[in-house]
């Protein structure tokens, strides 16, 4: 139902820190119709060319200043993922994505206040890394 919110087009890129490529990053809108604290993210998954990346390598941020692992995010209640603003999803990986074309799939699920099952959205995009 919220697949169209997931993985904002054109946002996937390698992350360069101190001259080294330390991973890759993408942005996504929320799979819900309202903002929620980060603790209400049920899960996030990233797959590249059909291979799931380890969840412990995923970091998330709403301000690109403070980053949380998914385990840490479970207790983060004072940072809110606002409706209409992106969540930055980063995968820590030396060298990031190799040059060329990749199929990157992002899965986002949020817990809601009254629906018993998490609201999941999935989007796979073809990404070209220069």
């Amino acid at each position: 139902m919220f697949d169209n919110n997931v993985f904002i087009d054109g946002t996937c890129r390698n992350v360069v820190e101190n001259g080294a490529v330390t991973g890759f990053e993408m942005q996504t809108n929320i799979t819900y119709y309202r903002g929620i604290p980060l603790s209400m993210i049920e899960y996030i998954r990233v797959a590249v060319d059909g291979q799931d990346v380890p969840v412990e390598d995923i970091r998330i941020s709403v301000d690109q200043i403070d980053w949380f692992s998914l385990k840490e995010a479970e207790t983060v209640t004072t940072y809110k993922w606002e409706y209409g603003e992106p969540l930055y999803v980063r995968v820590v990986k030396d060298g990031g994505l190799s040059a060329g074309t990749h199929k990157v799939k992002l899965t986002v699920a949020t817990r809601t206040a009254y629906i018993p099952i998490p609201l999941e959205g999935i989007k796979e995009r073809e990404v070209t890394i220069a």
Binding site: S39, M40, T77, G84
Partner: protein
């Protein structure tokens, strides 16, 4: 004597807002242009850092109200009982969160909030002093799929009657008055993998004597007749349980609740070119409300946005305007 007034919930413009085609100010200007008198908002959707919104956010909201002349009617609030993954919030935590929402509503110039369906009844008594302090009433949403047969709705209504306060009531979502299954839902679900056989069956459950798929689902435990089951796929069986959020109550189901009803969500799936909504008889309902002296707002809640087919344009503004024009014409005829 009844005076029914129109309102638009900004929920109806969620795709325009999410994709930055319209900001809050533009959404409110649009509502004004439809001729509606009031505006409804989900603070969690369009007011940043709710319920701890900054003064700057509040100032913007008030300036838009002033610009448009719209009456701030109601805020739709939620209770994050599942804020944490490893436990459910305690009663005290739940009440504390809701108190903050009431305080925000007060700062936004509102006197009514909608509590989302399934909010537990036991918040009401501890909340009452705060309702009085902030002069904000709380009203539980009665929504299709979670309406008068849902135990948590029943418990809430029981407690509402026991406490008998002007600060406690109900919001009715007109999705409980679907005379037929919305075809935009059928078309959307079929576009992403459901079969026609599933929706032929679901549609057939809507009958003139009040039958609907919600009732059938409860009666059968979600099992299908063998001849239908033979045609279904695994995807159909997975998606079937969430097709029960459209019910077919008679208007008279509201008789005993009228004194408690604070607000209506005029749910909108699809205004058709011929005029009325595909599933709901707004005119019949407005006549019922007029006859029962309803004095309050009926608020557009467009939900066809989430059933828009891939590659098709979003029709939020068009659908809202069509419904407002229709409802306003009905009211002119009924109320003079």
């Amino acid at each position: 004597m009844s005076r029914i007034k129109t309102c638009v919930s900004l929920y109806s413009l969620q795709d325009e807002y999410l994709n930055h085609r319209m900001n809050l100010e533009q959404c409110m200007q649009f509502v004004k242009e439809t001729g509606a008198e009031g505006v409804e908002i989900l603070p969690d959707q369009m007011i940043k850092n709710t319920p701890d919104a900054s003064q700057e956010e509040l100032d913007k909201w008030h300036s838009y109200l002033k610009e448009t002349g719209l009456k701030p009617v109601i805020a739709d609030i939620f209770l994050n009982t599942n804020l944490y993954k490893n436990r459910t919030l305690t009663r005290r935590e739940c009440v504390d969160l809701l108190v903050k929402e009431l305080e925000l509503a007060n700062k936004m110039g509102l006197h009514l909030v909608r509590l989302v369906s399934m909010v537990p009844y036991w918040v009401l008594e501890p909340l009452l002093p705060y309702c009085e302090k902030y002069d904000v009433a709380v009203a539980l949403e009665v929504h299709a799929g979670m309406a008068f047969d849902e135990p948590r709705t029943v418990e809430f209504i029981h407690e509402m009657k026991r406490l008998n306060s002007k600060y406690i009531g109900l919001v009715i979502d007109t999705g409980i008055f679907c005379r037929r299954f919305p075809r935009v839902v059928r078309n959307y679900e079929m576009s992403i993998g459901c079969s026609a056989a599933l929706f032929d069956y679901i549609e057939a459950q809507f009958t003139e004597d009040g039958g609907d798929y919600h009732k059938t689902f409860i009666k059968t435990g979600g099992k299908f007749p063998p001849e239908v089951d033979a045609k279904l796929t695994d995807h159909d069986r997975l998606m079937a349980p969430i097709q029960d959020g459209y019910e077919n109550y008679p208007f008279s189901a509201l008789d005993e609740y009228m004194p408690y009803i604070k607000h209506f969500h005029f749910k909108l799936f699809e205004m058709t070119e011929e005029g009325p909504e595909y599933s709901m008889d707004y005119k019949g309902l407005l006549q019922y409300l007029h006859d029962h002296d309803y004095d309050g707002y009926v608020s557009t809640e467009y939900e066809g946005n989430r059933f828009t087919l891939a590659g098709h344009p979003m029709q939020e503004k068009k659908q809202i305007a069509m419904q407002q024009a229709y409802v306003q014409a009905c009211l002119k005829e009924i109320q003079g």
